[in-house]
């Protein structure tokens, strides 16, 4: 299973294996990693699984669709590498992915 590194805003790292086909959000929730709220359960409807994708991985995580872009744009912590973790599907190519979390989910 691909290994994903989640880094909390305070710097604490969590390395977990996430099954293929799951979302990066599910990987965090299933492993009780703090900092991902996922209020809508993965519908791209709440923007509370906001992460910053490590720039080295941006080419492999795909591009957000219009709905995701619009939800992310309301987060005051948004940056150019912001994504919603529920919209990133785990594939073999994402083995080693690193994502960081904002100060808080909103």
């Amino acid at each position: 299973m691909p290994l994903i590194t989640y880094i909390e805003h305070n710097g604490r790292e969590h390395k977990v294996e996430v099954p293929l086909g799951h979302s990066v959000m599910q990987g965090a929730v299933d492993n009780a990693i703090p900092g991902i709220d996922a209020d809508c359960g993965g519908e791209c409807a709440c923007a509370t699984c906001h992460v910053f994708v490590d720039p080295a991985w941006l080419g492999r995580t795909g591009t957000p669709d219009a709905q995701e872009k619009s939800m992310v744009s309301f987060a005051s912590t948004a940056q150019a590498n912001s994504r919603l973790a529920c919209q990133i599907q785990v594939t073999a190519a994402l083995d080693g992915l690193v994502v960081r979390m904002p100060e808080a989910q909103h």
């Binding site: 709220d37 996922a38 209020d39 809508c40 359960g41 519908e43 791209c44 409807a45 709440c46 923007a47 509370t48 709905q67 619009s70 939800m71 744009s73 309301f74 005051s76 912590t77 904002p102 100060e103 808080a104 909103h106």
Partner: protein, 412 residues
């Protein structure tokens, strides 16, 4: 699901079922009507004597589908906006929640920073000091109205801070809020739309004076200054300024007000849950969102179909009014386990519809949670219990789901 088959909710022909009657909500009797619709007609058409023809969307899944399709389901005030009650022609109230993209997005982004994580962190100590002051001033061994003394007081204080509004005049905010949401001629102080407009004019005049001070001063982190300096909002018409004020006033106090009152009621009715919370205050992580789910302080949001479309097998035509009943979706047994139970340690308690989903999701949701959390932390530190000693009085509305009176007593 509990089905009492002799209840009118289960025996009325579907075509005659109208779950939107404000009297049902005031009597707290709407629940079985929504259970019936979820089971027998999840997307349902009705005619209301108050609100005209409308569609009810009652299940979690269908509500999410409407929320995520603003291209087909408009929020625009020109079509009637976001509540089941149409405002009279010519008296529309534009506000960003009742706009579609791109204008919605532009205006929302002007005020969004008020609830940025750093700002919320700065508000924590202030909220706690106010909560402690209010709680320490409550009478012991005496009956009083929790709504008046705690729920309204705490939320208008917060709102006054967000607007940087003169503190001694803060009760004007709850007065304007109630005036905006009240059904005209139903026994309250708003006896007609003309009365409502006169009250709105007072509100606009008061806030215009604040705007004029702030527009000529350097930008500050309060909502009026943000609107006065924001690129997408500084050129608003007076009517649009009024609309956005009403949105921020209602959204910023009435909703949290009713979740604060609801929490007291639910924990009184479920002493076992209160005991769990006393034993382990860390359960507030799930208890706070559970209170917000269980209360659902706004019972619905409304959209207007822009195109002919199909939803759960029903044909909805362009121009139709579509009501997403959050209060029903939050009790949908196909999405939430044992949804009629109030459980402070509910798994995935954050997954509820009370804040809405999609681009119109509640701007202030984290501030609402923060206020509830601090309030309950301090209640648990002080009071062995809060007894509800009389019947709560509920609001005559199928939009605002709340209370005017909650008689309580804190043991001496």
């Amino acid at each position: 699901m509990h089905v009492a088959t002799d209840h009118p909710a289960w025996t009325t022909p579907l075509a005659a079922l109208d779950p939107s009657h404000p009297g049902l909500f005031q009597a707290d009797e709407m629940w079985p009507y929504f259970a019936r619709l979820r089971r027998d007609a999840p997307v349902h058409f009705a005619e209301s004597p108050f609100f005209g023809p409308y569609w009810s969307v009652t299940t979690w899944k269908d509500i999410v589908q409407v929320e995520l399709n603003p291209q087909a389901f408009s929020s625009d005030s020109g079509f009637g906006g976001i509540s089941i009650r149409d405002r009279p022609k010519g008296l529309e109230l534009p506000m960003f929640i009742a706009m579609d993209p791109p204008k919605h997005d532009e205006q929302r982004k002007v005020v969004q920073p008020i609830v940025a994580p750093g700002n919320l962190a700065r508000l924590q100590d202030l909220i706690r000091a106010r909560v402690c002051h209010i709680l320490d001033g409550l009478p012991r061994g005496e009956t009083f109205n929790w709504v008046e003394h705690v729920s309204i007081e705490l939320t208008v204080q917060m709102l006054a801070t967000l607007f940087d509004f003169p503190f001694e005049d803060r009760r004007k905010l709850s007065y304007w809020s109630d005036s905006a949401t009240m059904i005209a001629g139903a026994g309250g102080h708003v006896d007609s739309e003309a009365t409502r407009e006169a009250i709105f004019a007072e509100c606009l005049a008061y806030f215009t004076a604040l705007w004029n001070q702030r527009v000529n001063a350097p930008p500050r982190p309060d909502l009026i200054s943000m609107l006065a300096h924001g690129e997408a909002t500084r050129g608003m018409t007076p009517r649009e300024f009024l609309g956005n004020l009403i949105l921020l006033i209602v959204g910023g106090n009435d909703t949290t007000r009713n979740s604060i009152s609801g929490g007291v009621l639910f924990l009184h009715e479920n002493p076992g849950e209160f005991a769990k919370l006393q034993a382990n205050p860390a359960l507030l992580d799930s208890a706070v969102p559970e209170i917000i789910r269980y209360q659902t302080p706004l019972a619905h949001m409304r959209r207007t179909a822009l195109v002919d479309t199909e939803l759960h097998g029903q044909r909805i035509r362009a121009g139709d009014k579509v009501v997403m009943w959050y209060i029903s979706g939050n009790r949908d047994e196909t999405a939430i386990e044992a949804p009629d139970r109030f459980l402070v340690d509910r798994k995935r308690a954050r997954q509820h519809l009370s804040f809405g989903f999609g681009i119109h999701r509640c701007v202030g949701n984290r501030l609402a949670e923060l206020q509830l959390r601090i309030l309950w932390e301090e209640i648990l530190r002080r009071f062995p219990r809060i007894e509800v000693v009389g019947e709560p009085k509920r609001v005559f509305s199928s939009f605002v789901h709340g209370y005017t009176d909650l008689p309580v007593r804190i043991p001496a």
